[in-house]
Amino acid sequence: MKQVTVRLFAAFREAAGTETLECSTAAANVADLFRELCEQHLGLRPEAAALVAVNDEMADWHSPVADGDRVLFFPPVAGG
């Protein structure tokens, strides 16, 4: 199992009721990790336009998850 830190923003944070999660996961990629979280936290659910970053770099949903990673889940953005 890998140990990763997850940070949630805006609507994701409010839905989960927390900003930071320390997770033990076997997820191969960040999409699998997010699916795991959706199963664990009532209210957190997939959003088609969500974005993800790993270790402060924008990533795609196929990006691998490595031990010690810091994974940021962004609900659909709405700047401007």
């Binding site: 923003f9 839905a15 959003e47 088609a48 962004f74 953005v77 709405a78 401007g80």
Partner: protein, 152 residues
């Protein structure tokens, strides 16, 4: 090139002064302001949440992409965070170029990419006391949002 996130009012004239360049005959600007309504609801104020480390880095990436795509000399963008009242400036983009066509195109490119890519979220506070994250269905069980994408 400069991208900044600010928790106080944006000083457009100060930003404009930074772009003075006698080689440039054109300056295009876009200013986004808080309006008093959205989708039929009266909006009292907006609340912007910004993840600054990535917003700033990705904002600079957008400005550099604009300079490589269009024949411009310089560009700046500033975005607010925190609570904004109706009428306040939320975002400003300024672009200078020798000629107007490149300035207009780059300005449009920058604001479109800012809205599409930066980790910035907007919560609308309505006159009826409700508040809602824009573009997100997660706090909307009626499923009003219909954006498509390649998410999880």
């Amino acid at each position: 090139m400069k991208f900044q996130v600010s928790d106080t009012g944006i000083d457009a004239s100060a930003l404009s002064a930074e772009l003075e360049d006698v080689r440039c005959g054109a300056m295009a600007s876009f200013e986004g302001r808080v309006r008093d309504h959205n989708e039929g609801q009266e909006v009292l104020r907006l609340e912007y949440e910004v993840y600054r480390p990535l917003a700033t880095a990705e904002g600079m990436n957008i400005l550099n992409e604009a300079r490589s795509r269009f024949d411009i000399a310089d560009a700046v963008c500033a975005h607010r965070e925190g609570v904004l009242e109706v009428g306040e400036t939320a975002v400003i983009v300024l672009v200078v170029a020798a000629h107007r066509d490149a300035a207009f195109k780059a300005c449009r490119f920058i604001i479109d990419e800012v809205k599409r890519r930066l980790p910035i979220w907007k919560k609308e506070h309505y006159a009826d006391g409700q508040a809602h994250w824009v573009n997100c269905r997660i706090d909307d069980s009626a499923g009003a949002g219909t954006r498509s994408g390649s998410g999880p």
